[in-house]
Each structure stands twice: as structure tokens, then as C-alpha cells.
Symmetry: C2
Amino acid sequence: MALDKYLLAALDEANKGMEAGGVPIGSVLVIDGKIVARGHNRQSQMNSLIRHAEMDCIDRAGGLTSEELGRSIIYTTLSPCDMCAGAIIFFKIPRVIIGENLNYKGAEEYLLSRGVEVQVLNDQACIQMLQDFDRQNPGAWNKG
Amino acid sequence: MALDKYLLAALDEANKGMEAGGVPIGSVLVIDGKIVARGHNRQSQMNSLIRHAEMDCIDRAGGLTSEELGRSIIYTTLSPCDMCAGAIIFFKIPRVIIGENLNYKGAEEYLLSRGVEVQVLNDQACIQMLQDFDRQNPGAWNKG
């Protein structure tokens, strides 16, 4: 299957993060087929506990209205953790498309229980990227 | 009842936020009786969707180990929203002390369901601070 262009953009963000010395996890926010915000994990780059890819992406969506967020889709290369799931719920993002949940499975059940649509692609490029990073940087990534 | 000194520190943070033009919500993180991180809502100051008081506080706890976070207490002047509750759960902070939940009641039930201890003080100073702010800045604060 050809890679979804939005997932490809999230993967591109993950790559940017890795090139900058961070953990390769990326995310994009899409409204009406258009990417309106992009982000990647910057925990090490910003010495920040909370700067996961989804948080970074949502933080860059500052100009959006509640109505716009309410019809957005967030793509993330990796299953979102409890914090990122909480943010998705709080900002009423109704749909999450997850690159993979084999390296880490986050709060998918919680998202579903709160009415968020969740789709897991288990895309090979997403799986491989984090596995390779983990092999080359043992212990550097352990928090999702 | 004399004001809890940690809640007082959280209120002090809320005040700092207001003085800087932001919404007066503050938070401190306590370990073994010592305040190890402080934060306040900086959404307007940082033009950030995610910079709630608890997130700001947790983000400043970067040097702490999981073990330390695992015996910490987070104080917040206002009941935490879904995002902040998710962060509390993700970082395994076992106890939350909430200044008040009358101006906004967040994800307390969810915290309890995930085994987090929750205590609500409904402190008059916390209630009044946000009410006054809301009266003076109608519509500026609406997100918890």
C-alpha cells in the first residue's frame, strides 16, 4: 500500500527530530485535507518532559478555533501516551491515525472510551524507524 | 484553617502568571516536603495551547527520576483538565491536591479511576482569584 501522505509527513517530522538529536516520533494535524500543524518529539532538544510529538504538534496549532480542532485529524507515528491522549481529548480532536503501536502501545482504549476514533496502521516504516533508533541508542527512548 | 504552604506557593505562582498578563492558575510539585518545581499557566504569554499550569510545572521537573516523580505530590490552584490529568498519570505522580473545583471541574474521576489520590480543598483564595480575573477579563479564561 502506498504510504498515506499525511503519515509520510509525520514520518518526515520524526526524521527531522532524529537529525536534531532527538527521538524519531512525529505528528501532523490535518483539517479538510490540509496539514495545519507539524511537530516532533523534542524532549532532549528542549530538555522538556512534556514535549512529545503530539504535544509539540498541538502546541503549534495555536491559531485554530475549537470548531476547527473539532474536525481535525491528528496523525502520529507512534501510539499516543496517556498525556498526549489527554491532550487530544481536551482539545476535542475527534480522530487519531497511528503509524504503529508495536514499539509502544499507549492510551488507545482510553481514547476510544472517550469517543475518539482511532486507526492503527502498523506501518513498516514507522516500526522500523523507532526500532533502528532504539538499537543505535539503547535506553535513549523509553517513554513513548 | 491556615493556608497550606504548598497551596500558598501555587497561589503565588498563579499571581505571577496574572502579573505577567496570563490566567491566574498555578502549580507546584513537592517531594519529601520540598518544592522541586513551580509553574503557572503561560498560554497567552507563550502563545501556547498546552502551557497549562500543571504542564508548565511538570515540564520544569526535568531532572527528576521516575522514582522521585513516583513519590511526588502536585498542587494546583484549579482542578486539572483532561490533558493535565493525562500528564499526571503518564508521569506516575501519585497524588494531586486541588485548590478548588468550583470555577472548573476537570478530570478528577479519571484520576481516581487510575489510582491517583485526589484531594480538593475548595480554598476561598483560589476560588476568589479566578472569579475576580474572570470578572475583569470576560472570556479570557475558558479552558481550565
